[in-house]
């Protein structure tokens, strides 16, 4: 019997929903949206889409993610009270990966902050955007305006050919370097383009009003170097790139130190403090780390280990897999998980329990597949 008082948020439809279906997408529910998990047809399927991204360019729809901005006097200073990253010193057009932390240093979300000039823009995870908005609204003073751009779509064009392709449609974007962005125009519509992504490849994220996104998607896939790709390939790409996924590899039970995100704790702000979770993070750093650590694991054979699988050293339970699967690029299974820090050094031999069978595994450095970001001067 259903509880009639329980409010189920309605499942939302992406601005490109019809476009995805026209291109043969298989749609699944994810983060409250119907999202393309993979496409059918000649170039479809997770492995084909994954390989195409590594070799050419793929178009991902990530419009489920939250696009927020804050503005007002002292917006950067106020945001610095909630994030460990240096925001006040972020130059216009620059982006920085940061974290929303709770008082214990637990991770509420990971996000990218951009100084767009007039505002500080943030892209947050789709599954946490409502919690993030509530958290920001609760902690930011009333003088700061928080805007949720829920009528903006977000596309990601990822892969080694992304710069050539996007540059041919939107002149000037190829001059951006990794983690910078700027205002451009497509078909008379203002857009924001950032050289970033979450696949380990060079690529771009493009924020565009929902009314113009279909024309942009059409223009991109009209180029034979571009095929659409779904959430399935996005997940295998980011796993190979060793990038943590919120809700899986990162939760409020993890923190920047054990998650291996110490780089997000900027040195100056570590010393000065003044942000939520600072004391807890510093205590962990000074105590020489945490009881457990996020590691990369490679498995022998073909059988993948999935999220939740237990990790053993001999008979001793030492950790848990937080994401895992088949690596199309490497041709064997890989996983990320948290293990007892004593068992975290590279080369440590462990086993993972998969349905009662112990699969041999070894700790390896992340990423599994090297990043190919377009860094300045590179």
């Amino acid at each position: 019997m259903s509880d009639e008082n329980e409010e189920q948020p309605p499942i939302q439809t992406l601005p490109l929903d019809a476009w995805h279906r026209r291109h043969g997408a298989r749609m699944v529910e994810f983060a409250g949206y119907r999202m393309p998990i993979q496409y059918t047809g000649e170039h479809g399927g997770i492995v084909a889409e994954h390989d195409w991204t590594r070799n050419a360019a793929s178009l991902f729809d990530v419009s489920h993610m939250g696009q927020l901005s804050i503005s007002g006097a002292n917006a950067a200073t106020e945001l610095e009270k909630l994030l460990p990253g240096a925001i006040a010193s972020l130059k216009e057009g620059r982006m920085r990966y940061s974290l929303l932390l709770d008082e214990d240093g637990g991770i509420l979300d990971d996000l990218i902050v951009t100084n767009t000039g007039p505002n500080l823009a943030m892209v947050v995870n789709g599954a946490c955007k409502w919690d993030d908005i509530a958290h920001l609204r609760e902690h930011l003073p009333d003088s700061i305006t928080l805007t949720h751009y829920d009528d903006q779509a977000l596309l990601a064009l990822q892969g080694p050919k992304a710069a050539e392709v996007l540059g041919s449609i939107i002149p000037g974007v190829a001059d951006l370097s990794f983690m910078t962005g700027g205002s451009f125009e497509f078909d008379g519509t203002p857009i924001w383009v950032a050289r970033a992504g979450y696949t380990g490849e060079d690529g771009f994220e493009i924020s565009i009003h929902e009314s113009g996104v279909s024309a942009l998607a059409d223009a991109l896939v009209a180029d034979e170097r571009v095929h659409p790709a779904g959430l399935g390939a996005r997940d295998s790409l980011r796993l190979e790139a060793g990038l943590p996924l919120y809700g899986h590899d990162l939760t409020t039970d993890t923190n920047p130190v054990n998650a291996g995100l110490g780089f997000a704790l900027s040195k100056k702000r570590r010393e000065e403090g003044g942000y939520l979770g600072h004391a807890a993070c510093i205590a962990r750093l000074e105590d020489g780390g945490c009881a457990d650590t996020r590691v990369g694991l490679v498995l022998e054979g073909r059988q993948p280990a999935r999220e939740g699988a237990k990790i053993y050293s001999g008979d001793k339970l030492v950790g848990k897999v937080t994401s895992g699967g088949h690596s199309p690029t490497l041709g064997h299974p890989v996983a990320m998980g948290y293990v007892d820090t004593r068992h975290a050094p590279d080369g440590t031999q462990l086993t993972i329990d998969v349905r009662g069978k112990r699969l041999p595994t070894r700790v390896v450095p992340l990423p599994f597949v090297p990043h190919k970001y377009h860094r300045k001067g590179a």
Binding site: I37, I46, P333
Partner: protein, 124 residues
């Protein structure tokens, strides 16, 4: 030889008391790229409707149910080296396991090819 189908998208070939079991073309299409198959060992007793094998696609692990009960005589060892056989030849070379049927009356109620096709047409 007769071929039967289940609503869980397994097929079953019956020849005398022996049954060969696999998943349908529709099922492999839904699963996507298969990267690993765990088949039951010889001698395993399986019951109708219970998990008998596991198929791992790039995205997830899925159970495969026994469409009929019996004693496993053979798992398809070709799937160890080439799990993608499930994608390329789901209803022939990509079979999962064989068993000796315990009770032929359990075949009653399974679909024939025509009924299965009609069933699949009602999905998405």
């Amino acid at each position: 030889m007769s071929r039967y189908f289940t609503e869980e998208h397994e097929w079953i070939d019956v020849e005398g008391d022996t049954a060969t079991i696999g998943i349908t073309d529709y099922a492999q299409e839904q699963l996507g790229d298969v990267v690993f198959v765990e088949v039951p060992d010889e001698g395993t007793e399986v019951a109708k409707g219970k998990e008998a094998a596991v198929v791992e696609s790039v995205k997830a692990a899925s159970d495969v149910y026994a469409p009929i009960g019996g004693t496993v005589t053979e798992g398809n060892s070709a799937l160890e080296d080439d799990p993608a056989l499930v994608n390329s030849s789901p209803e022939e070379d990509g079979w999962f396991f064989r068993l000796t049927i315990a009770d032929r009356s359990e075949l009653e109620g399974l679909m024939d090819e025509k009924a299965y096709k009609a069933f699949v047409d009602t999905l998405d």
